[in-house]
């Protein structure tokens, strides 16, 4: 017995429906003229080379929580994912939860930045941003929120500059890079990173995009677009999709020396859990992270598997360690409707209890 129950008439009808939706979708897409991203008003506080430090404005006269939060995003993608549009903005949620929110925009490195190292980013740029916020608020410590690779930066910083950090939140942050289900880590295991960086200088963003798409090529290069046709006749959904597309392929080049260090020492050497990372001449030992930590991870994350994030629990030195599992993927944790309801409130409540 054949499992097919598709008649020619049904197939033709399905095609007609598909083409009608495609036509309607094309009309909506044609009318999208401005894909603005970043909706929460903000002010530039500090600028250094390509880096810009922003503070987000709140409609409240006084914030509920006086200790500001500095969001440290990854170098790999652009941070406007956290403030994509009105109904998909983690930053907006954090501001409405009564927090004072700052964000580091690392910018787009060019060849002049190829010599930047992890020490420059963590012990240099990040440290100066923290000092500016501390001085501006007359505080000894601030809160850090690190996202993905930014969470790794946050952990390293909290280990070597713990006197300046009050609480640390990590989101979808890899800690143990050698868990069995970490496909990305397996792929780069036999990569000659020195050769790659020597050949390219800064590692092109397109190269990283290709690798990320290769993790699930059928879904990410095919099915995603077929799925989208079903939603394109809704203008709002069409705009959301186009913004996501903009972000996915808006990948800065990676400063060569930073990429070299990060891949060799973290991905290949798994140095973070082994205590072998050196930043600014100081050894990073996760046991030195004795401040409260909230570790948020995505249950269906194919880029940073939950096991890679949850490993933090057994390595970090704090007695106040909390976990929050979000039932989505690596990107859904910022942009899904559910994440807007759950994540900012959870972060706000957790910080309020520790202020």
């Amino acid at each position: 017995m054949t499992p097919f129950r598709i008649t020619p008439a049904q197939a033709a009808e399905e095609m007609l429906d598909f083409h009608s939706k495609l036509k309607a979708g094309a009309e909506h897409v044609a009318n999208i003229t401005d894909l603005g991203v970043g909706v929460t008003p903000r002010d530039e506080v500090y600028r250094e080379n390509k880096l810009v430090l922003y503070r987000y404005r709140s409609r409240r006269k006084n914030s509920i929580n006086p200790v500001p939060v500095l969001i440290v995003y990854a170098l790999v993608n652009r941070p406007y994912m956290t403030d994509l549009q009105q109904n998909r903005s983690i930053i907006k949620g954090l501001v409405e939860a009564g927090l004072v929110v700052y964000l580091i925009d690392w910018g787009y490195p060019d060849r002049a930045d190829c010599g930047l190292t992890l020490t420059d980013y963590i012990n240099g740029y990040l440290d100066r941003c923290v000092d500016i916020i501390r001085d501006g608020h007359n505080l000894k410590q601030i809160n850090l929120l690190g996202i993905c690779q930014g969470g790794v930066f946050g952990l390293c910083y909290s280990a070597i500059r713990r006197s300046k950090v009050k609480n640390l939140i990590t989101m979808v942050t890899p800690v143990d890079f050698h868990t069995p289900d970490n496909l990305l880590s397996r792929w780069v295991r036999q990569l000659d990173v020195d050769l790659l960086v020597d050949a390219t200088g800064n590692v092109p963003g397109e190269f990283l995009n290709w690798i990320f798409l290769s993790l699930k090529p059928f879904r990410l290069t095919g099915q995603k677009y077929v799925d989208m046709v079903d939603s394109l006749d809704d203008r709002d959904k069409a705009e959301t999709f186009m913004r996501m597309e903009k972000w996915i392929f808006d990948s800065p080049d990676q400063a060569g020396e930073t990429f070299r260090e990060f891949v060799k020492e973290f991905f290949q050497g798994n140095g973070l859990v082994a205590g072998k990372i050196q930043i600014g001449g100081r050894r990073v030992d996760l046991r030195d992270v004795t401040i409260p930590v909230l570790n948020i991870y995505a249950a269906e994350d194919h880029l940073v598997p939950p096991s890679a994030s949850k490993a933090l629990k057994q390595h970090v030195g704090t007695d106040d360690y909390s976990e929050l599992e979000f039932g989505g993927g690596h990107i859904g944790i910022y942009v899904s409707a559910r994440s807007q309801r759950e994540v900012p409130a959870a972060i706000g409540n957790w910080l309020d209890l520790r202020t």
């Binding site: 598709i6 399905e14 496909l183 095919g222």
Partner: protein, 347 residues
Amino acid sequence: MTNRDSTDWTEEWLNVQRRYAQDWARLATPNRTETPHSSTSDPDSWSEALGHWWQLTSATLSPSAQEFVAKLVKQGQSYSQNAMGLAQALESGKAGIPPDWHDAFTQVVEAWNDAIPFAPMSQEGLTGANLEGTMGDFAKLTSERLEQLLAVPGVGAGRETQDRLGELARLGMKYQNAWRDYVGVHGEISKESAHALAQALGDLAAQGESIETYRELYDLWVDCCERVYAKHVTSDEYVGIFGALVNSLMAYTLHCKYVAEPVVRGLGLPTRSEMETLMQRFHTLRCENDVIRTELDRLGKIVTGLQARSCDTKPETGGTPRKRKAARKASLVTRAPRKSGAHGAKR
């Protein structure tokens, strides 16, 4: 020439497709008659129609929208071709011959593989893997001879150039071999995916379930492909092949720049090596500046603190000349440092 907008053309195209659907329905009836639209039996007619529509409407979109919709149209064309192809293959059963549905959807699956923009998953990779058995020995022999030839050192005034070009050719061959291995793996994945889909469909049939729409079939195929793909790409063999591919490409890329350097230098243009030297020195200077700036900030804070303390203890206006002299000396020590000249002040 009338000025008709794309909406009119779109409506006309949809009307044509409705007539095609009606003809399809007539074809499916037992006492059907021949229709003038014989091209509806051609699986490409739908995708051709979509292509014509796209040609008409694409000019009205912005470049970024064009790129996005072009991807959707390509998916739509593939979808159309495969739906019609599948329907045709199934229809052959209605002539009284039981349809071999396994062959039917295997054809469809292989056509789908071509539609995926992920290049290594193409039929080309599959073909390459098949040919390796017959061409492999010859290719290997040729490759070995060529390697020997390229390993011969250069002679004469141009020996440096000969060596560079020989190394470039050798690295190019190495990259081609790595690429062939990479494509070969993806060819295997393609073949195995088709079998996985057959298995999945067999399981559905055994459970008494069925595929009701073409979309369900497509989604099932994607699931099967991702499963097979994940199985292969997590293997040590694939990790080695992937590493070899990237490493060989980077080695070739790096050597290309090395070959180009004498030419660039000869033209009086800055070379990559020179730029890298400059970047390294620039970075070193930047690091030194950061250290100096941090130290200056620290010293500035100390000076500010000392100034604040000295303001709290004001010098006496009366007293002995020795006391007045001591007070003046103290005020001189706490005065703000003069700004240094151009070398120190500028950053």
